[in-house]
């Protein structure tokens, strides 16, 4: 682990920077209640729209809440969405992928065609449609994005599982009468793990962006949840006069997505150099 870190720091400074930023963001997420200068939801209309200064480093919003505090708590929302979405879509995708890759034949065909259908929808579009169907909330965002993201994992896993299933040791295990679930667990899954991990780290940035976009459109997190996309939406009318209400939450999204993307790229070049960007 430390060796891998050293290697990353030496060979890919961009990815290493991404890792450092992510660690900082995670710390901010965990420690938000202690390091945030103000309570999470503490409107003080008298202090509305104060420009950045000693009292409020990033200024205050239209109802007088500290922007820095909202951003720190917003990190919680974004990371929660990202982690839950990744877990949910990876669980669905990997399961279907393993089944498809191991079973082969018509089962594989059916699963892969369904995957193709879902892949024909750009993530944001299907999320939009689904977010309309379900009531706008953080949970909706997680479900909606997962619905569009699982096919990638299914595809990656199926490819890995197919190539593993074709190998001799799996064949011999099958002939020896080892039960299918055990073969899958012992041989197929571990081999699919690396590409899935790389895919996960690459996807986190995209999920953060999509979630922010949904919230920006009013289809995601709702007041009083602190969410970066929502903050941009609420501040946009004031942008020309009070620049800080839009600038800082937007930068928070940018930096987080950037950190995930660089780290994902770096991991891919270390773990899985043959694959190209999707």
């Amino acid at each position: 682990m430390t060796a891998a870190l050293h290697r990353l720091a030496r060979t890919d400074r961009l990815a290493f920077a991404g890792l450092v930023i992510l660690v900082l963001i995670m710390l901010a997420t965990l420690l938000a209640p202690w390091i945030a200068p103000y309570p999470a939801d503490d409107p003080r209309p008298v202090d509305a729209l104060l420009p950045p200064g000693a009292e409020h480093w990033f200024g205050t919003d239209q109802v007088g809440r500290d922007v820095l505090t909202r951003i720190l708590y917003g990190a919680r929302t974004s990371l929660f969405i990202a982690v839950s979405t990744l877990a949910l879509s990876a669980a669905v995708g990997v399961t279907l992928g393993v089944v498809a890759g191991y079973a082969g034949g018509w089962i594989r065909d059916v699963i892969m065609r369904v995957t193709d259908v879902f892949l024909a929808f750009p993530a944001l579009l299907l999320s939009l449609a689904l977010a309309v169907v379900l009531r706008p909330s953080v949970t909706t965002v997680i479900i909606a994005i997962s619905a569009t993201w699982w096919p990638w994992y299914a595809r990656v896993t199926a490819a890995a599982a197919t190539s593993v299933s074709a190998r001799a040791y799996v064949d011999s295990a099958r002939c020896l009468g080892v039960p299918a679930p055990l073969i899958v667990f012992r041989h197929v899954l571990p081999n699919a793990l690396t590409p899935v991990l790389v895919q996960l780290s690459l996807d986190a940035g995209g999920i953060i962006l999509t979630a922010a976009a949904l919230s920006y459109l009013g289809l995601g997190a709702q007041e009083p949840t602190a969410e970066w996309g929502l903050m941009v939406e609420q501040g946009q009318a004031l942008f020309t006069t009070d620049w800080w209400v839009v600038t800082f939450p937007g930068l928070a999204i940018l930096i987080t997505a950037f950190a995930f993307n660089t780290l994902g790229e770096g991991l891919r070049s270390i773990l899985d150099p043959r694959r190209t960007v999707r």
Binding site: F121, L125, V133, V232, W243, F258, F260
Partner: protein, 333 residues
């Protein structure tokens, strides 16, 4: 041929999925159409009109049958056939996304070449850094920032809209294709052409940001892979310089993966364009979809979803076709 069959399957699946999603919409579309104070009789009439009184399989059957007839239903909001609405909104989106992709290809590929040429040096690092930024920036935020800085404050570009509305009276546009730039060119309507191009700059740049980053990264990656190939060594041994090898020898075999990426990015750009259209008040699909979503206009949402998904499938088919032309190996296969 096999590709066509696969595409047809995907389209069928897309239609089915669209149907499922739209039937799940909470709230009664009939109420949305007839109005909240409509009588039972009026509601029943509306239900009958949209076929909502039928069993679900019958509804699906009707839906598919109507699709084949080119009937996407009536928008609950505009009360116009959805197809007509799309025919009006789509060209504006196409104009925006087309321009953006053109910019993205024109900028992304040379940037990728530059990065590959100076791998590990300053140009490479700056291209990698900025393309990473470009794929990480939230589009709606970038749109707001550019709009505020370059339109509201500096006044270099117009804040919103497709062209100066005053021109509709001074030099009205004859419409052929609904793509304003094309129509203005066809009819020689220079004031509208100039105004539209001027209005296009900012939104097109915002939509282009993500594809520029992706295309530059991909071009760099595949060019570097080509650089390790035997044929590159032969080309070096023949006395060709590094730049010449990248541009004249490696770029063509490298274009294939870049092309597939562009197809993927196309659909993505259209949906990203939705957010940008909202900010710049561009009269395209995004604005139409946003309005439809807000008013629970099921047929309109279904129409937009279907259109974008079909575009995606089409773009993929097109890429297969172009790849065949670019790669002699695929041609003989």
């Amino acid at each position: 041929m096999r590709r066509l069959g696969q595409a047809a399957l995907v389209v069928a699946g897309v239609v089915g999925l669209t149907f499922v999603v739209t039937r799940l919409v909470p709230g009664d579309p009939a109420v949305a159409y007839a109005g909240p104070r409509a009588s039972e009789a009026e509601l029943a009439q509306a239900r009958e009109r949209f076929g909502l009184d039928e069993a679900v399989p019958v509804q699906l059957w009707n839906y598919v049958r109507d699709l084949f007839a080119g009937d996407l239903g009536i928008s609950l909001r505009t009360r116009q056939p959805v197809l007509d609405d799309l025919a009006l909104a789509f060209p504006a989106s196409l104009e925006l996304v087309g321009t953006a992709l053109f910019v993205a290809i024109a900028a992304g590929i040379p940037l990728g070449v530059l990065a590959a040429r100076y791998k590990g040096k300053f140009p490479d690092l700056s291209v990698r850094f900025s393309s990473m930024l470009a794929v990480s920036v939230p589009v709606f935020w970038l749109a707001l920032v550019l709009q505020t800085v370059f339109a509201s404050n500096l006044r270099w570009f117009p804040v919103a809209g497709e062209y100066d509305a005053a021109l509709d009276t001074t030099s009205p546009l004859t419409v052929y294709t609904n793509v304003t730039v094309v129509d203005a060119l066809l009819t020689g309507n220079w004031p509208i052409l100039v105004s539209t191009l001027h209005h296009l700059v900012l939104p097109a740049l915002v939509v282009a940001a993500y594809p520029i980053g992706l295309i530059a990264q991909m071009t760099r990656a595949v060019l570097l892979e080509e650089a390790g190939q035997d044929h590159t060594r032969l080309e070096r041994s023949l006395g060709f310089g590094e730049t010449s090898i990248l541009v004249r020898f490696s770029l063509r075999p490298a274009l294939n993966p870049v092309l597939s990426l562009i197809a993927l990015v196309f659909a993505y750009a259209i949906v990203n364009g939705f957010l940008v259209e909202a900010v710049f008040n561009w009269p395209g699909l995004g604005r139409y979809a946003a309005d439809a979503i807000r008013s629970l206009d099921t047929p309109a949402v279904a129409g937009v979803t279907l259109l974008v998904a079909l575009l995606y499938v089409l773009a993929n088919l097109l890429v297969d076709l172009v790849q065949g032309i670019l790669d002699p190996r695929a041609r003989t296969r």
